[in-house]
Amino acid sequence: MNGADMDGTGVNVTGVNVTAADVSDVERARGKPSVAPGVRLGRVSFVWRPWLAGVTLLLAAAAFLAFCLSIGVGDFPIALPQVISTILGRGEQVDEFVIMDLRMPRALAGCVVGVALGVSGAITQSIARNPLASPDILGITWGAGAVAVFLVTVSGGTATAVVNSVGLSGAALAGGLGTGLLVYVLAWRRGIDGFRLILIGLCVSAVMEAVTTWLLVTADIRDVARAQAWLIGSLDNRSWDDVRVALWCTLALTVVVAAVAFQFKPLHLGDDVAAGLGVRHTVVRAVLLLCAVLLAGVAVSAAGPVSFVALVAPQVAMRLTRCPTPPLAASGLTGALLLVGADLVARTALPITLPVGVVTAAIGGPFLVYLLVRANLR
């Protein structure tokens, strides 16, 4: 009883019978088709969205430019063409040392952390179907912060041993992931409901924040200064060792996200519709949410809790690309641009050097408000 043996008068391309007369009538009545055209390259085919592709490319170019500018700026300024030729491996020896050994780690850390936060934010906002959802709210940031502050302020045998063996960043990463998973488990009730996820994330974050504050109030004043420095995200004093781990983790995770992204698209329409379209939504969502938590954890361990990027980058990317849902690639690139740009501003335009976490909020917030207001005025 499949489409094949149905009456022969109809055109049967897909199983639904449409009589030839119907189609030609309607097609005559209509003008140009408004369904997005497809592009085919060998076995690969995709929807041709020139605006999305163009904006994404522009964002990539802008992020690369900011990356190069960030490398060029410093006590020993290097012009942009020299920076680019050195990165491409055709520079002079002196430049190469300054660029590759001294400045590259900081700029690269900015890019990696920005991409990780942008993608992480895009995933959480899509899964929760709520623009407020971000790794900050899911407890990852404050979980990492609480662990870091605990290790800094409580100087005891165990704490010192932990810091010596895995490093402060590693321990913070574990704290962030643990908190993220705790939130996920607590929010689980025959599947994940976005609203419940946000509420539980908020509660767990508040507890972690309270623990952090309590530790800071009772701690020795010198430890507090160190802890505070960690709590405001910063890209200062990054070494290749710090960056390498974050870089590879982020690359691996973005590959996983890209592989699952295709199955992710129908989830924007809700669980039931996605299931009807043949998506194993619980598996897809669990994998992606785990990736989001890991990406946010990597970002926190590399730069500390840089606020606002994960919240703002997907929203900015959505409005720039005119997509109804956060675009993954563009969100990552926006995150990188925002973070590297903020770091650049923090080091050059301001009379005092501020940690990057302060500047991301100061730039990202107003820009998002501007985009929202512009949308209202239309």
Binding site: M1, N2, G3, M6, D7, G10, V13, T14, G15, V16, N17, V18, T19, D22, V23, V26, E27, R30, P33, S34, V35, A36, P37, G38, V39, R40, R43, V44, S45, F46, V47, R129, R190, A259, F262, K265, P266, H268, L269, G270, D272, V273, A275, G276, L277, G278, V279, R280, C323, P324, T325
Partner: protein
């Protein structure tokens, strides 16, 4: 039963979709217990019943959204739980209750998502897909709205668009859960006329509907449920009687000939504004003091 094809009542091998002894519940609470039903091919089957009788649960189980605790759902001879959900999606289209599209998503893009089961990571869009989507838009009469955001449409248009997405899936078996909810009568009729067009073009359709007269008018096969079990099944002319309505819904009603259709028409009797000679004895006594 002469209106039905042989398989309709019995649930033989010709049924596209059938439930065999399914028990379904939500976290320990059993809603349906040991139910058998089969969906006859190429007709419109509508599940009706009082609120909470398990009709949506049955539809969700038939569409593999809910996994039965016991028993199985059989699609074209295969246990639906053993099929890849993607392969099921190529045979069975589903429109859940009151779906919500992301703000700003255009009609064409939403309908295009219906092609998902036929796509893969590498093959995300082909000229076939575009042709099928255009046809789905045309069949549901929403081609002119293709560039509009879904959230800017009226309820009736929006429902047409969602049905269009289900059509783009390219299945000839469609399960629609309350497609007329929140629609005024004119738009409800409009949507059901569309469903009948699909049926005429060879689709097998299963609906859940609240409005009994619409269900009677548009279905060839009614499944009447009460407390998780099937009370009656068959053509509306055979099934819909005053006694059945009293038993299934606790509704007192008269069943008359539909002046414009060839089906019965249900005229509910409440307590207010009913002519005294048609009132229930108890009600008459109360009213007359």
């Amino acid at each position: 039963m002469e209106h039905l094809t042989g398989s309709a009542a019995g649930g033989g091998d010709t049924a596209r979709l059938a439930a065999r002894g399914i028990t379904v519940g939500y976290g320990g609470r059993i809603v349906i217990d040991g139910l058998d039903v089969s969906v006859p091919p190429r007709v419109i089957t509508t599940i009706i019943g009082a609120n909470g009788c398990g009709k949506s649960t049955l539809l969700r189980t038939l569409s593999r959204l809910l996994k039965p605790v016991r028993g199985s759902v059989v699609l074209d001879g295969d246990d639906i739980a053993r099929l890849r959900t993607r392969d099921v999606a190529k045979k069975l289209g589903l429109l859940p209750q009151a779906p919500v599209a992301p703000e700003g998503l255009t009609v064409a893009d939403l309908v295009a998502r219906g092609r998902h089961p036929h796509q893969s990571w590498l093959r995300q869009w082909s000229s076939d897909d575009a042709a099928v989507v255009e046809r789905a838009l045309a069949m549901t009469g929403v081609s002119d709205l293709a560039d509009r955001p879904v959230d800017a449409l009226s309820g009736g248009q929006r429902q047409r668009v969602w049905i269009s997405m289900t059509l783009a899936q390219g299945t000839d078996l469609l399960l629609l859960d309350e497609p007329t909810t929140y629609l005024d009568l004119a738009h409800a009729i409009d949507v059901l006329d569309l469903v009948d067009d699909l049926h005429e073009s060879g689709c097998t359709v299963v609906l859940v509907l609240h409005d009994l007269n619409l269900a009677t008018r548009y279905s060839d096969n009614l499944i009447v449920m009460k407390a998780g079990a099937i009370l009656a099944q068959g053509h509306p002319r055979d099934v819909i009687t005053a006694d059945l309505l009293r038993e299934a819904f606790g509704l007192r009603a008269e069943v008359i000939d539909d002046p414009v259709g060839d089906r019965p028409l249900i005229v509910p009797i409440g307590r207010a504004h009913v002519r005294p000679d048609r009132m229930d004895k108890d009600t008459v006594q109360v009213r007359l003091g």
